[in-house]
Symmetry: D2
Subunit: 481 residues, 4 copies
């Protein structure tokens, strides 16, 4: 369920451009199309070949940047970042890109992902006298680059990358160079495009469509892309690569009009829904999806099952950061927030409710209840992904094991807990088949860790604790929906 | 096309509650669910039985009201208003409700609609020494009430209502009374609900669902509802009534989960799409709707035609007031704004693009072009309403006649202008049938003036000029999309 | 004591200009020099001959107007206003000038003073159907003008002025005319100046110095000045005049560099101090004044007495609206606020502390205590005005009778209350002599009502109540110092 | 002339407290009393024994801290800083205190003064991989502390202090310790006080008076004060000390109610004025001072000369950061800004205008002209300090040599340049005598470098360049007055 996961998520979006006179404006539109990947903060750094200028702030892209900010950001190269809202560790100083000026040259960094050895590296650096200004993983890389004894920035970056572990798509910019690096597993998407003579880089291809750029190819796991006025160069900082793309990008995270690894996300989701209809058919009158991320799967389910697709749930578009949550009393008396059922559609009907995932189960329970109160005769829940049983250490913060309902309950127990008439999850095989992969787990190219508990990289013990602490912080927050 | 009309629109939403200790909070959630009816400004007035307190501002409901504002608005009665963005005449002082304090008692007003004799009444009042503080039609009614010699507020209001012409749904509140009035044609929706012991009033029934209230009935044309601590009373201020609900409420304005005159809006729109598929079938590969308002019709079209429904167009959810429009140059180079085509869905396909209306035609042309650039082989445009040939004087400001493309061009000419492979509008009969009305125009209960030019009330000459002036003001604005 | 009175005061400042291309900028600098007359809000209205544009807001002149606001205020005529902070009745809508637009022409008003029959007139107008938007006295005049049946604006204004009572200096502007009116007693100062070909009007002559204008003459009691493109005309709206300038303007209100009725304020204050030294000499080591308004009198006292003048008290310049008052506990432990004693100057010395007035006595008590704690051996208080025993109904809101310490206590009792070694007030004769007037009370040209209780105009009963209510509201506020 | 120097100045103010439950509030009032030392920004860091919390921002103390900020800053220890407005290098990140959090403990620093080897140290640290977040000298010390190999924080600080050169008064705070350090020359004032059981530290003693604390003693040159819950300890980080207090603190910088090195500043200034009257007497009618810093000297001059002291110049209290400067055209036509002459006082008079210093001469020229235009018959300028001929490298940024009028012109030439009838500066001997020092330059305990060019410490070449660059940046700014 999108809303549920979102509150915990650390995903972000990055965008970069080199060689265009309007670099900052293009980055603005690029970030805007990546806004779904992060709403807490946004920032842009530009270079005019001599100095790096930055503008960043808390809030949406449209809130952070006014005409004035953009006009000041003149230059041919730019990188930008949209940041996810996290339970703790927010705050202005953590908004990216991070910019480090010094007498020996400037350095800007934007990061999508999550390092698994950040805490250890940071302690080591602090013991050696480094002063950190943020609580962000990203600053670790900057210190490693600055402390590296190598002569060129490319070598410094490669040396620093060899020390960090986990999931990352980095954009790095100096006065006269734009670099992009993807971790050896390629957990996060990162693509290369062209616009006239310029190069662009983006977390998702939808950013290319928005600015009218052409897709060239994806950055490869373990690859360091270097772009300057002489063109684009590709280097490898490791040969030990093994692509395992995050499955959640297909299931709910990416925008439906993006292609991830050349697979269209909307189409993949529709196939997830069709597969679901084959695996767990049901007799019903209407199919409805939980907006926005489950709509495609619901349409697929409807098409494969022949049951008509309807707007059974409406999402209020105007719920923002400043929305005042109803008091407990008002909520009990029925005041809705983000989602409302459409009584005219569900009343007296047997409803198939398609959702993309179940994390803690509270949201599903609320939606089922809501549909019943609006008159649904039966509610059949179909989840277009396998049960989530293990936490993610690569950026999708799907809670600690204790919180994951599927880690401790059987499907029948979950069904009772959420109050559905029937409940089915997609099989792991079905997931891989619908995405279009080999169905052998070892060979599928996808990270399935949250469904299987088998992590494609080593996980450090203090990261496990960090995840737990975050989860506890989150508990004290008003649940979103 | 929703976006196109929206820029010109004067629609608003009103909400009221009497007899609930949390009146202001309920109004907040009620207005929030009516936000689609107006995004320029919002306001709430409450009464605690002795004084009226107001809080209002420019922006969305969530932007105008913080926790602090709501806490101060204590009282058992409240009225609220969301205001549409208009070309001219904006500004803080025009945000409603309007509140008038005096030594003889206070008066708050909230208005949805458009008076057709406001200018004449205003001139008359000013000549008699009245001082107006706003440029809003609504203030006219306040002056008429205050100048009325009758003894009770009910009589004053009825006397004042007998002098205004046009479309209006008014909420009027004093220290100890809440009143609601609907014009003799009932152009605008206004419904009554109950929540525990309290009465609620709202422009749309979706507001009842959000706060958990039960729908009771609609306010009738020419009816004055009076609610106080003794209960609800109904009076008539005219017997000369003739219900002609605005058709646009069904076609695109109301929220899909609302019922207007007991007809669910999503279902009506789906029937419009089905009817369209019967009237103007086409061979194609995918059906797509222009989000958000045309999705229901597109689903209906797909269902009736058997062509699969797909997300061929994505709307960026984060485009707000502060979005920086791309420069002309960037736009020509392909930078998109609100809408993006989904290449993976439309490439190489014959696409049916369902939209709810065509006003000036510029937006349709842009979307058709966008779909073709994303690879669509053919684009067939299906409009789920008849051609708009006449301006509206009742609150939906669909431009002056000069601007309406269908007022001067044949359907074939429009098709060429927008670059579609085929184009069809819904017939007037089809419209009425799909909504569920008698297909005799005189007897259908709907206002069809924008399709026929036959206005159900007299139109005053200076209103026609006002509409023209507004249209000219709008021309100088950046076109939205 | 300036600070003490300030909290209660309703004084304001007005400025106008006609016939200058930079009218708004000149008004900005003029208002800025009148800022001491009101810090709650500021506003400017300009006319370009066709329309009136307004910009106003809460705060200081420099806070309300940025470069952007001023640039938009183009026109040859302007009026402006600075508003005093009052106990109740604040808020944006009461910031002046008030601007009234209508189809029959626009009208802007700025008012310095206090009407004594505003409540009665307002009730009368409301009963006739007028709707008031502010709680300000000034709006009453606007309604009277609009309701007047006369044909020209001049006649309408004269007719309206004949109905209001009390103290007022009005600036009134239409699209093509600037008018100024002073009440028949001339309580408030209002002067005419010239700058190149333009006319300027200001509450104080210091505004002329700041913009480089030449002083021409004062507006006369009962005079209506009319300025348009043909020049300046003088008319009388009453022949029944009797100048009684407010004495407080000399004692503490006006700026030392202004001339009021051709008498320099700093010089007058210095003479008050000299006169005090003659009337109540004392043996002491240093003379100090309470900044800022008592500095001139203290210098005069020092000069006449031969005792050296020292900076014994320092005022913190940076105490603004947003200053956080110390908690009661911190205050008791000695945390100072606006004023600090200079230990190095007063320690071990016999100090003469010159102040301009005593209202409630609390501030004087605090300062005496502060000086003693800083080591002063003796503190002799000399007040450069007679005891205040009666409230003011003409704009200087010196509290209700109950609050005025001198209304109920003898001078010896006050001395004990404030803890001084000796205390003396200036005699009424001494006051008039120092200002330079005839010492016969009936014939002195000054209003002495607050010292004598004899009011030069009739006072209406409900005004007395209004003063009391205000006083009660003020009691609940943190005392300033 | 205060205003003139102010624009260029780098002075700041620091305040600290240890052992008081209201540490943050006391710091607020302390900083407020030091506001004259810096208006660009303010910040407070508190410790509750476990974590350090910070709040800081651009603007005045009252603008930066609202009730909310202060309430969150709970703890028994606090340090605060007010920062001067500088030509370049402003910005939020440079507002102090600087706070550095790390896994090995937190560190907060506040700095008043200017290092003379900051650039060299910074380059060295950056080459070793340190990343700087600010452009402030202060961060250099933090890196030196963190890189120091010593075990205790005291040893780390002493080691770091041994590497920095120039003028500094540092406050340093960790979770459980407050430290204060003064450079070996003691250029800047820094005093110790007690309040109940707590210790307080402040740049000026006026801060003690404001919070009701008792003065204990000054921090000594080369001394490191360490305060924790066991009490106060004094250590020396160097034995090579030689006190040379900045003379400008007496001449214009410190507040008149402060004691610097046990000498009251107001009294010292008054003696400067008296000495001036002895050294350069003149026949005149009135003495006036340039507010605010020259008032004391003017009173002294008046007392010694027998010429009456008058308010000949008025300073507008409401000129803030947001004041809109008059256009060149309006200024030429006579629009004044900060200062206005009092025509009623100077007209037809021979005026002695006492000022504290002349830097570039432009302000003096403007004031003389202003006085003449207001009718002064003669204007005699008396400067209560010797001519400034050399730039300052210790925090008072009195421009580069090229800009200093006295560096290239004789006194007679300056007199002509500023248009005075006579001009005299105080002698160096007179200065020392009036302050109360030995008149032997080598032995006087004062830094006289700006008058003599003889610097008490070594000056590094790149600092001279930095001063020049700053001076050039300043040239492009509108001159203040």
């Amino acid at each position: 369920m999108l809303a549920e996961i979102k509150g915990l998520n650390e995903e972000c979006g990055v965008f970069g451009v080199w060689g265009h006179p309007d670099a900052a404006h293009l980055t603005y539109y690029g970030l805007h199309s990546l806004q779904h990947r992060g709403q807490e903060g946004a920032g842009i750094v530009v270079t005019d070949g001599e100095t790096l200028k930055i503008s960043k702030g808390l809030g949406l892209v449209t809130e952070v940047f006014g005409m004035g900010e953009l006009k000041n950001l003149t230059g041919k190269g730019a990188i930008g970042h949209v940041r996810y809202s996290t339970a703790g560790g927010g705050g202005f100083e953590n908004v990216q890109p991070l910019l480090f000026n010094s007498q020996t040259g400037s350095l800007a960094l934007a990061h999508n992902g999550n390092l698994t050895n950040a805490i250890a590296l940071r302690r080591q650096l602090e013991c050696q006298g480094s002063i950190f200004q943020t609580t962000s993983d990203t600053e670790v890389l900057a210190h490693l680059i600055r402390r590296s004894g190598f002569y060129t920035i490319e070598e410094q970056v490669k040396n620093a990358l060899s020390m960090v572990k986990g999931a990352y798509a980095y954009l790095i910019m100096t006065e006269n160079k734009l670099m992009a690096a993807l971790d050896p597993n390629g957990f996060r998407p990162l693509s290369i495009g062209r616009l006239d003579g310029a190069y662009v880089l983006a977390s998702e291809t939808c950013a290319f469509d928005v600015i009218g750029a052409d897709y060239v190819r994806d950055v490869l796991p373990g690859e360091l892309i270097i772009i300057d006025d002489t063109g684009l160069r590709s280097e490898r900082f490791t040969m030990n690569v093994n692509r395992t793309i995050c499955s959640m990008e297909y299931i709910y995270f990416a925008r439906p009009d993006s292609n991830v690894d050349n697979i269209n996300v909307h189409s993949a989701r529709k196939r997830l829904g069709k597969q679901m209809a084959l695996e767990a058919p049901v007799e019903a009158d209407v199919v409805t999806g939980v907006p926005d991320s489950s709509i495609s799967a619901a349409i697929g389910f409807a098409e494969a099952s022949g049951i008509p697709y309807e707007l059974g749930l409406i999402k209020n578009r105007y719920v923002g950061r400043t929305f005042i949550q109803p008091s407990q009393e008002l909520r009990e008396r029925g005041v809705k927030m983000k989602l409302s059922p459409v009584r005219g559609v569900v009343e007296g009907k047997r409803v198939v409710m398609v959702d993309d995932s179940i994390v803690r189960g509270t949201t599903s329970r609320r939606i089922v209840k809501m549909l019943r109160e609006a008159g649904a005769k039966e509610v059949h829940v179909r989840i277009s992904s396998p049960p989530i049983i293990s936490p993610c250490f690569y950026g999708i913060d799907t809670s600690s094991t204790e919180e994951l309902i599927a880690a401790s309950m059987s499907i029948e127990e979950i069904r009772k807990e959420i109050g559905a008439d029937s409940l089915a999850f997609l099989s792991q095989e079905g997931l891989l088949k619908a995405i279009g992969r080999s169905t052998e787990e070892e060979n599928c190219g996808q990270c399935l860790a949250c469904f299987t508990g088998k992590y494609p990289t080593e996980i450090y013990p203090n990261e496990v604790n960090r995840a737990k602490n975050k989860a506890q912080q989150k508990d004290s927050k008003t649940p979103a929906m």
